[in-house]
């Protein structure tokens, strides 16, 4: 009876697992298929049995000039050589920089709000949060005009600035809650022990806050990495990121499913790996308030 119950449980677990991971598997499998295998009306599921895996798609997106993507006539010569590779680099730079900036400034802001009495504190915190209430697309046109005038279109700096400001409120709110939970006696003890406040923050508070910083970093990375609308309209050429590129592959004529799948896999990988690396911190960061003595 108990064994049957357990078996049932694992069967259910297996079904759920398949339900959630099959789409991912389908993308990964497709990325290793030739075009004929991808568009075959009979699903080809098992590598080496149903189809012969190939790395051609990966080779194509990394090393061959784009030929079938619908970039339009405005594509510059440099982007034409290997669109995906450049865009991946752009995505890494823009996401990395904006995440670092958002976590750095957000952590400092949150510390100040948590520890010091600030006039109109709750109003300020609401104001910070309210910037998240508008979906980015609403501000797209004004931002476009603004960036056009300031010469920030198609630049790293422009998108970094935007993504940083989108992620800051989130970081500030999460980190403030976190700092509120860290007894201020810790840094006061360090100050009594002969350290300045900055040294106390750096030596005592930050090591305590790392889990929360890792958690907010993951969320910032996901937001910046996946952002499509602003990236698509503001950075079309040299500083363009991966999401608009993926869209552009679908764009015109026959869809290169294999390349699209390969690009998607490469695109998803960094976030998965980073999240995996900080998973212990992540759990502690998110559940912090709940488990503390």
């Amino acid at each position: 009876m108990r064994i049957a119950k357990q078996a049932g449980f694992y069967v259910l677990l297996g079904l759920v697992l398949i339900f959630f991971t099959f789409p991912l598997y389908w993308i990964v499998a497709s990325s290793f298929k030739e075009r004929a295998d991808v568009i075959s009306s009979v699903p080809k599921l098992v590598p080496f049995v149903d189809f012969t895996p190939t790395t051609n798609n990966y080779r194509d997106i990394f090393f061959r000039a784009e030929t079938t993507t619908g970039e339009g006539s405005t594509v510059s010569a440099s982007a034409d050589v290997s669109g995906f590779r450049d865009r991946l680099v752009n995505s890494v730079i823009i996401t990395g920089a904006s995440t670092l900036l958002a976590v750095f400034f957000g952590t400092l802001t949150a510390y100040a709000v948590s520890r010091f009495t600030i006039p109109l504190e709750s109003d300020l915190m609401f104001f910070v949060l309210s910037t998240r209430m508008l979906p980015p697309i609403v501000v797209l046109i004004p931002v476009f005009v603004l960036f056009n005038d300031l010469g920030l279109r198609d630049s790293y700096f422009g998108l970094i600035l935007l993504y940083t400001s989108f992620n800051l409120p989130f970081v500030v709110w999460i980190m403030k809650g976190f700092f509120d939970e860290i007894p201020r006696e810790y840094e006061e003890a360090a100050m009594m022990d002969g350290y300045s406040r900055f040294q106390a923050i750096y030596k005592i508070v930050i090591p305590e806050a790392i889990p929360a910083m890792a958690a907010t970093a993951v969320f910032s990375i996901i937001v910046s990495w996946n952002e499509f609308v602003l990236a698509n309209f503001l950075n079309r050429d040299a500083a363009s990121t991966v999401p608009p590129y993926l869209n552009s592959i679908i764009g015109v004529g026959a869809v290169e499913w294999g390349r699209l799948a390969a690009a998607s896999v490469v695109f998803v990988l960094p976030v998965v790996v980073f999240t995996f690396l900080v998973r212990n911190h992540l759990l502690r960061g998110v559940t912090f308030g709940a488990v503390r003595r």
């Binding site: 007894p183 006696e185 810790y186 006061e188 003890a189 360090a190 100050m191 009594m192 022990d193 002969g194 350290y195 300045s196 040294q199 005592i204 090591p207 305590e208």
Partner: protein, 360 residues
């Protein structure tokens, strides 16, 4: 070690006046206990001295030199927190070494000094443990050790024993007193436990609502409280109080319901004459200054007995008031039994009900 002088210190948080014109001196090598109920401003005083809180007005001086503008680090004081505030990621050794690292001591000297202090505090076997792996009493010792390693100018202690269990608290009281005299250190110690204050202090400063009530030796605080608040706050069980008036014709103190009637001496009469209103007086006597005795002058009725082994407290109804009497351990009586009470009048007090001040 240094002396500490606090002059006209005031501090408010929003609308609340946390400290009101506090002036207090802690002498070099003295164990001064700042005693008061919760929210009296004790911790605020300590934090102002430590430099963790900005003063609204007044000065804090060490050895006569004003330190108002100095950061906590520059003041070179040690503070033991009520919660100990040990760094959770550091071992006991690293916790104790942390203040020395700030002073750029070489590693071998740090090791030597930490071991020295650990031996003194009997925690050498704990040095590799983290705070989470130690009991409250052990953490407390490490926190003390962190304060002691560097010979600070002053030890500030914020209710360091409050979070310990009773047995440990009693042990640590003696231990702290021993350490203080061994180090010849200046201790500025905050507590709301009057037993702690009485047992450890060279002098006690009583604080209430941000105002200093009295500063004196434990004996003087106990025997000659400056006002009703001090009289009731110090001593356990607390002092009995009965609302009274002074009757000039009978030269006696008479309770509101007339049951209590105590003739006063000339000196006491003169003291009572200073009252704001001689019909609004409060008579106070400690349980040990009243006894159940056949020769007593006041009638009462036994209400409840509380035998404690070495003594018995007896609550006696005197008219509408209840007087707690300290009786011998073997004393027994039935509820409702009629007894006579004898007051040791020279040890009793009368307070001005309007101002709260002690008249005698």
């Amino acid at each position: 070690m240094s002396s500490l002088t606090i002059t006209n210190l005031s501090k408010r948080f929003g609308r609340k006046q946390a400290l009101d014109d506090l002036t207090l001196t802690v002498k070099d090598g003295e164990f001064l206990v700042l005693l008061g109920p919760t929210a009296a401003g004790k911790t605020t005083t300590l934090r102002c001295v430590a430099g963790l809180e900005k003063l609204d007005s007044g000065t804090v001086a060490l050895d006569g030199a004003v330190v108002n503008g100095l950061s906590p680090a520059e003041r070179d004081l040690a503070l033991v927190f009520q919660t100990y505030a040990l760094y959770p990621r550091k071992s006991a050794f690293e916790n104790m070494a942390f203040p020395l690292l700030a002073r750029d001591w070489p590693p071998d000297r740090i090791r030597q000094r930490v071991n020295e202090v650990a031996t003194l505090l009997r925690i050498t076997e704990l040095l590799e443990r983290r705070p989470a792996q130690m009991s409250g009493g052990q953490q407390q010792r490490v926190a003390l050790g962190r304060a002691m390693v560097r010979n600070p100018r002053l030890f500030l202690m914020d209710e360091p024993l409050t979070n310990l269990d009773f047995k440990l608290r009693v042990e640590m009281r003696a231990e702290l007193k021993r350490l203080q005299s061994e180090l010849a250190a200046t201790f500025f110690y905050v507590t709301n436990d009057q037993v702690e204050a009485m047992s450890m202090a060279d002098r006690i400063a009583v604080l209430d609502h941000g105002k200093l009530q009295q500063v004196d030796t434990p004996e003087r605080i106990y025997d000659h409280p400056a006002n009703l608040f001090v009289a009731q706050f110090v001593g356990s069980p607390r002092m009995n109080t009965i609302n009274c008036r002074y009757d000039a014709d009978q030269a006696a103190l008479i309770s509101a319901d007339g049951v209590l009637k105590l003739p006063l001496t000339d000196a006491q009469r003169a003291a009572v004459a200073n009252a704001t209103d001689s019909s609004a007086l409060i008579f106070g006597c400690r349980p040990e200054d009243v006894s159940i005795h056949a020769d007593g002058t006041v009638d009462g009725k036994v209400f409840v007995l509380e035998p404690l082994g070495d003594r018995t407290f007896v609550d006696v109804h005197v008219g509408g008031a209840t007087v707690r009497v300290r009786a011998a351990a073997a004393y027994r009586a039935e509820e409702g039994e009629r007894v006579r009470l004898a007051f040791d009048l020279p040890r009793c007090h009368v307070f001005d009900a309007v101002s709260g001040l002690t008249l005698f």
